[in-house]
Symmetry: C2
Subunit: 397 residues, 2 copies
Amino acid sequence: MQFASRLDKVETSAIRELFKLLGKPGIISFAGGFPDSAMFDVEGLRAASQAALDNNPGAALQYGATEGFDPLRAELATFMQSKGVGGVAAQDLIVTTGSQQALDLLGKTMVNPGDKVIVEGPTFLATIQCFRLYGAEVISAPIDADGVRVDRLEQLIVEHRPRFVYLIPTFGNPSGALLSLERRRRVLELAARHEVLVIEDDPYGDLYFGATPPPSLLALSADVPGSRAWLAYCGSLSKVLSPGLRIGWLVAPEALLARATMCKQFSDAHTSTFAQATAAHYLQAGRMPATLAQVREVYAARAQAMGEALRRELGDAIEFTQPQGGLFFWARLTGAGGRVADAGEFARRAIEQGVAFVPGAPFFATEPDTASLRLSFATADEPKIAEGVARLGRALG
Amino acid sequence: MQFASRLDKVETSAIRELFKLLGKPGIISFAGGFPDSAMFDVEGLRAASQAALDNNPGAALQYGATEGFDPLRAELATFMQSKGVGGVAAQDLIVTTGSQQALDLLGKTMVNPGDKVIVEGPTFLATIQCFRLYGAEVISAPIDADGVRVDRLEQLIVEHRPRFVYLIPTFGNPSGALLSLERRRRVLELAARHEVLVIEDDPYGDLYFGATPPPSLLALSADVPGSRAWLAYCGSLSKVLSPGLRIGWLVAPEALLARATMCKQFSDAHTSTFAQATAAHYLQAGRMPATLAQVREVYAARAQAMGEALRRELGDAIEFTQPQGGLFFWARLTGAGGRVADAGEFARRAIEQGVAFVPGAPFFATEPDTASLRLSFATADEPKIAEGVARLGRALG
């Protein structure tokens, strides 16, 4: 059997191979990209799912509009308003099957084989592969601790005339970086000036530990003339409420949203109405602020514990910026004192010591940094973090 | 903003325009393609969703494997075994976000722009558009009351060397036709002889009114040497349990299933685990046989009522085969006695009389039959069916 040639563009994930080793008993994992199941608001979701079946079971269990379940669209618009986003009504967004589907619909809608797209280097692995499946040539723009370097981004836009630029401005995966307010404005100005679509992926924006981060590009776009017309925004309930509901959403200019909706119609008809009605009732019940406060508090303590442990156990063999939110540390091996500087080799030694993380190289579309690595602090409690980082120290030698 | 050129292949749906008229008060609709909400087993699904949250809330609300939630995969394999399908274990299927996604993954995996695929004429509208989005040239094979004409199908396979053949062998949408046992064997022999993939879409197979229909192609393939290697099967809980769960599944040869799984990973990561866990508990609770018995009984009575009313009210102006299962009557206007023979014109007059149906022409990828129409008997009860068909009689003039 022959397969479509577009599949040639996607490599088997090196990370998948690593994950097969995670079944080893007693292993402490910093490798995941998911929230801690122990923090799911099970009682709140139970009540919401029951309310969905009590109130209007026909609607919750029947086919629904491709655009999404209207009460959920309204709740999501209100949720964004509570975060400073103006001018986005229920009809300006569609519900997607996780924000992964929003990315897929943007790829399906926008990308012809051979088209170029720009992402951050490093960025979310499944984004690179999603766009490559549609034949995109994926180009990396460099980042630093303040997010994407806008000067380099502009040069790349001018040079490559990409179909779009994909950014995770707030606590990016894997970088954990926070794009500064100044750079956010400049990104929006670039979008309007060069008439290039910017995709803001924002699954982590609510997971801040101290001060509120700068406004999303979507919120800021109200202040930058002409930029809203060149901005798409992907939201998600996966990291803050439950990934298993598979509820994401897409805000985009009207013509793009209409095309993405048509593509979604033939992708999965619509997102589970039962999951959508459950999410709508959950948001309506007003439980989200307390849920957010709790996950912020727990992750902040874990991030603090991991940062202290890394400094204590790995010293000058590793460098990193302490994350101000999200789920991840992004770090580099320095090779100081002749210790291991290759993150792949370090990952193999770490597994032998009973601790797992993900090497950073696969997160780069081009020019991988083989000294980089990603550590999640989300799913291990503080004693496990201390023990796991101690094992990393032993693996370092 | 420019969109991907593949979008040019898909026309705006004529049916969408018709559906906008359905809001008219008092209208009786035979236009839908969905089951009756009044028959959803709300109590069973309520209990199943609660059990999912009681038993293992972490698993029901967390990310899951792209292949699907293992307990559901096992239940679906058992469900298929109960219908005579041998040799399909849990690991031989993946769960999809409705069977629409199974079709999308097959398109994404198999179709390069310009490739040919063969479907029945008429067939499910969203299938034609789904495959066209990947650049397929869609060719129609003619059908009669016994399903696809296998002699013509073989000629078309030899002539066009398609990437695959897509069939709804059992109570097809819109045709309602039932592929005979003899033709089923011949289709499987064709697949093996010409080494062409056959996709069996089977959302309606459980909705039979009298005798059990012939075995699915998947069940029969055990008896036709070499055919299983050229067969993909799409199952769905949408028509028999609840469309809003968005639970479908795909059985396919190992290499194809692996590629489809990779495409799914970047399409939506996985299907809602909450919906999957709910479906798994529902199947495990053993409620499905009673649910199936009830929907069969209700739809059988409605199909009977509609057939009698059509003969009574429209006489020789319409011809059709009484369906033995599914949700639809497929009919043709004869123009007898100088009455209207164009189904589009008839649909407009019918709306004026307060009754809606779908003209058949859009269901043909090529050579539309403008005298054909589709009537669903699923969502109107028997008095409404009688009144609706009386209105059709008045619309006919």
